[in-house]
């Protein structure tokens, strides 16, 4: 038996991004001995990538803003599939969570009267995003990180040990959760540095592991986004919802590799950039759907006149809604007219002078020049849909962030329901603060209630060790993890991407099943010390599990809504709005169930006008709404 380091904590937080750190702060403030498990170094979480800001209806920029307006915007953005209670809590509590950060030392940009400045963002009715230039995510992480250090300093003053009540386990990956007698008993993982194993015995675990983007070939996510929390939760017996909803951006860079996945802002198209295929054809004119025919130009000449004379000309088809653009790009690539890297060309260089581009798109120009030596004033960009955010995640109780297994909590991107079928920009940073705090609070409370703590059984521990060591045992003779990873990414990119259709989704399930068998035979060379091949080998089964959820749910949901677009079912269907697809694991296979959506409270329903609701609700629901409205009037 391998020697295993053991720890005992009241609360263990898996993930050290915004949600994880906020949860840990709350658990420690509640007096609980808390561990934070970070897959990377402390302070390197993917949260740093968030640029826009954190949405909170503080009303600094426009006094008309309040939580009800924010709630409405969030529900609209999610196409009414959101868990209404989560959206409500989020909208009401976000301002407090932001103000709290200032007491930790955060320095947001200011308004002229010294308050926190708020900026406009797509989908938000009022300027609402608290921000620090374009590095708001970094400010958030640093602030929370420094708050944790400050709590450790207090503990040092009290006990002589910085880590007596709050400890960060950096570069540590959790591979297994333990459930005994139906409740959480602990978790198991390895230190990346040494490869040594570590066991945490704890009654409360908060999952805050972020998203799943690394299953896709083109993604703006970092290597850590392998769906660990999603998979751990399912293996522990919890459920996932909304896994079919992924946020893609139609134009991410696909080449060169140094900037693959990085978003190219839509304003490149707004300022004259056009999409061309490998034959040099400006193909968007072939993809204008009938419903948009009247608003969009039919000839290149007319389209080009629009930039200077929008009143007398129709818009260029490059400015069609996001999913239309994505669909067109998808079709061109699949028809074999894509670039070698599998994208299409976005050309502004041949259409605008370098001076114009520099003036209108300075940060885009700078970013690509600095990261890739690509001069967007000189040559076209290669772009394609890029995976950005997963709306789906662990099904939780809105108020307590508790998952189906007692003792398990989830917050941030790994949890599901808050954003419905599509997330508004700026809502993720506030989401992780609001629900990170709640998860920490209720995890601490659960630790109090768990008087008799369950012990992790030796058999479960042995099995976890065996699973973790298996790829090393097979050595170089096994399947290469890097090859398997790139094949998985290709399958997800080609068949479960931004535009989906039945035949492809069915094909993907077959391919994923094959991959699942091969992942069981994955082998790596080298030892346990900081061996990235081994780490990837262990992450693969998580990526496969969440990919299977996404593919199955995408096949089941026969409509298009938010981050799920079915070419064979292009319309939104009010009947589908009432259904959540819930994934769970039976043995090794993902099981899918339909579950009704919680019903919105009447007073929240009445924040919307009937005309808007009629786009989303079934006739039956509308009749109920009318009845309510009638009562209110009477």
């Amino acid at each position: 038996m391998t020697n295993i380091e053991r720890h005992n904590y009241d609360v263990v937080v898996i993930g050290a991004g915004g949600a994880g750190l906020r949860a840990a702060i709350e658990a420690r403030l509640a007096g609980k001995r808390t561990a934070i498990i970070s897959k990377s170094l402390f302070g390197k979480a993917h949260t740093v990538m968030a640029e826009g800001g954190a949405a909170a209806a503080m009303g600094n920029a426009n006094a008309g803003d309040n939580w009800m307006v924010h709630f409405r915007d969030t529900m609209r953005g999610g196409k009414f599939l959101n868990n209404f209670r989560m959206a409500e809590l989020h909208a009401t509590e976000a301002p407090e969570r932001i103000w709290e950060l200032e007491t930790y030392g955060a320095l947001f940009d200011r308004t002229s009267d010294g308050k926190i400045s708020q900026r406009n963002f797509g989908g938000h009715e009022y300027p609402r995003l608290a921000h620090v230039g374009d590095r708001t995510g970094l400010e958030l992480i640093r602030t929370l990180q420094q708050k944790i250090v400050s709590l450790q300093q207090e503990d040092f003053a009290a006990t002589g040990n910085y880590e007596s009540r709050l400890r960060v386990f950096a570069e540590t990956t959790i591979t297994e959760l333990f459930v005994e007698n139906g409740r959480i008993a602990g978790c198991f993982g390895y230190y990346r540095e040494s490869g040594e194993f570590v066991l945490f015995e704890t009654p409360s675990i908060v999952l805050a592991t972020g998203g799943v983007g690394k299953s896709y070939k083109v993604t703006s996510n970092s290597w850590e986004y392998t769906g660990d929390g999603h998979a751990l939760a399912m293996r522990a017996g919890a459920t996932l919802i909304n896994m079919e909803f992924l946020q893609f951006h139609p134009t991410g860079m696909v080449w060169p590799p140094s900037v693959k996945g990085i978003l190219v802002t839509e304003s490149v198209r707004g300022d004259g950039g056009v999409l061309k295929n490998s034959e040099g054809k400006r193909f968007m004119f072939d993809y204008v759907p009938d419903v948009f025919r009247k608003q969009y130009a039919e000839t290149e000449e007319e389209a080009d006149r629009w930039y200077t004379d929008p009143d007398n000309n129709r818009r260029p088809p490059e400015l069609l809604p996001r999913d239309e653009v994505a669909r067109a790009i998808n079709s061109e690539v699949k028809a074999g007219r894509g670039t070698p890297a599998g994208g299409i060309y976005l050309d502004i260089a041949s259409r605008r002078s370098p001076e114009f581009i520099l003036k209108r798109l300075p940060s885009m120009h700078h970013q690509f020049k600095e990261l890739a030596d690509v001069d967007i004033t000189a040559s076209p960009m290669e772009v394609g849909p890029t995976c950005h955010y997963v709306m789906g995640g662990v099904e939780v109780d809105p108020d307590t962030a508790a998952a189906a297994v007692p003792g398990l909590f989830a917050a941030g991107e790994v949890s599901g329901g808050m954003h419905g079928s599509n997330r508004l920009g700026g809502n993720s940073l506030s989401d992780l603060l609001v629900f990170g705090k709640r998860a920490g609070e209720y995890a601490a409370r659960h630790a109090d209630e768990a008087v008799k703590r369950a012990k992790v059984s030796a058999a479960a521990l042995n099995a976890a060790v065996e699973t973790a060591l298996a790829p090393l045992g097979r050595g170089e003779g096994g399947e290469n993890p890097y090859t398997l990873h790139s094949e998985l990414q290709q399958v997800m990119n080609d068949l479960v991407g931004i535009i989906r259709r039945r035949s492809e989704l069915e094909e993907s399930l077959g391919r994923l099943a094959d991959l699942k068998e091969r992942v069981k035979k994955v082998g790596v060379a080298g030892g346990r010390r900081y061996n990235p091949g081994w780490h990837l080998a262990l992450d693969l089964r998580n990526m496969l599990a969440v990919s299977e959820c996404t593919a199955k749910a995408a096949l089941e949901r026969e409509e298009s809504r938010g981050g799920h677009t079915r070419e064979d079912f292009p319309k939104m269907d009010p009947n589908w709005r009432r259904v959540n697809l819930v994934c769970s694991l039976r043995d090794e296979d993902v099981r899918l169930e339909r579950k009704p959506l919680p019903k919105m409270r009447p007073e929240l329903m009445q924040l919307f006008d009937r005309a808007e609701l009629s786009k989303y609700l079934t006739d039956e629901e509308l009749a109920e709404f009318d009845e309510l409205a009638g009562k209110a009037d009477a």
Partner: protein, 350 residues
């Protein structure tokens, strides 16, 4: 596809290691980190490297490329000649864990020793009022992505392991400056602490930290120099100076931790209140696995005087301007044969 290029990557762990040669495909538009990833995928699956965002925002992939501290994701292959061998080594100032991954826990220890933001008394959350112009000064330092390249390049600790206990390094001088300039921080002793607790006096303003900062933070000009100013005012006060000559050190209430003498002070060699000891004591209490005893690698000779130190000012040095710890005759990128990455030996061997 791309052409084959020559790479030399340091491989090994805390016991031994060497530069290993690779022939690897390089495509247009790639950065050094892409090539490391290709090596992992095709030739060396267990090659250890830290990375996260691959967009210059997280500060994980710090390494030394042709001898110069850089981020792997921000170093484009097009900046090298096609025939040039690119040599990649781990950060030299920190102990190697494996291949390109080093133990940077020194920095997290130093972060703990710096008192956190002290919220103003009687100001409720939501009532904080600050002007943009006032927050901007601190915001510059909050751009820091904690890549620790400045810590790695700083010669006070790069080749002087013995200075580590007493010296916090540029990353934490900008943190101190950030809090000192924070409009609402309740502490007023940040500058004194920079001298007494952080050892800012060791810094002789060679600006190497500023030069390697990927966020282009003006570490020296905007943080270190302003933090030194008040300290210098007091320490060069003739009466204080006279006092320091008349009284013994242990009779003074302030430790003599400034540039000209502090380098010599060691744990158990100086007074009881020297910053070195203070920090060492705090380190011991804090008890994290820190290896203070690692033998430092021999670097390129710095232009030191007979006393073994860099000139304090350019007036006493041979060259105008700040001295580089690499030596002033070194041009980057360095030729492969000139890169002398020396692996630190095991701590228990001596």
């Amino acid at each position: 596809m791309g052409e084959k290029r020559n790479f030399r990557v340091w491989r090994g762990d805390d016991s031994s290691g060497q530069l290993q040669d690779f022939q690897v495909e390089v495509n247009e538009g790639e950065v050094v980190l892409d090539i490391i990833h290709r090596l992992q995928a095709t030739q060396a699956p267990d090659l250890a490297v830290r990375w996260n965002c691959k967009a210059g925002k997280c500060g994980s992939c710090s390494m030394e490329i042709n001898g110069k501290p850089r981020l792997g994701c921000m170093t484009r292959m097009s900046t090298f000649e096609p025939t040039e061998t690119v040599t990649v080594t781990p950060l030299r100032t920190f102990p190697v864990i494996r291949d390109l991954v080093t133990d940077v826990s020194f920095n997290y220890q130093k972060a703990r020793e710096l008192p956190a933001f002290a919220p103003p008394a009687g100001v409720a959350p939501g009532e904080y009022r600050m002007q943009q112009v006032d927050v901007e000064r601190s915001q510059e330092f909050r751009k820091c992505i904690e890549c620790f390249l400045c810590q790695n390049v700083c010669h006070v600790i790069r080749d002087h392991e013995e200075n580590k206990p007493a010296f916090a390094g540029p990353r934490f001088f900008i943190r101190a400056a950030e809090l000192d300039m924070h409009p609402l921080d309740a502490r007023t002793d940040r500058k004194d602490m920079a001298v007494e607790e952080q050892g800012i006096g060791y810094c002789n303003i060679t600006k190497c930290c500023t030069e390697v900062c990927p966020e282009h933070i003006k570490i020296t000009d905007n943080a270190i120099i302003p933090m030194k100013e008040r300290a210098v005012d007091r320490r060069y006060d003739p009466i204080a100076w006279l006092g320091s000559k008349i009284f013994r050190r242990d009779q003074l209430d302030r430790p003599a931790g400034y540039a000209t003498t502090a380098v010599a002070s060691r744990p158990n060699a100086g007074t009881t209140s020297s910053p070195a000891e203070h920090a060492a004591a705090a380190g011991a209490q804090g008890d994290i696995s820190m290896n203070w005893h690692r033998e430092a690698a021999v670097g390129h000779a710095a232009p030191v005087g007979p006393d073994g130190k860099l000139p304090v000012t350019e007036f006493t040095g041979e060259l105008a301007g700040a001295q580089s710890p690499f030596g002033d005759d070194v041009a980057f990128p360095m030729a492969v044969q000139d890169i002398t990455y020396q692996h630190p030996t095991k701590p228990d061997e001596h």
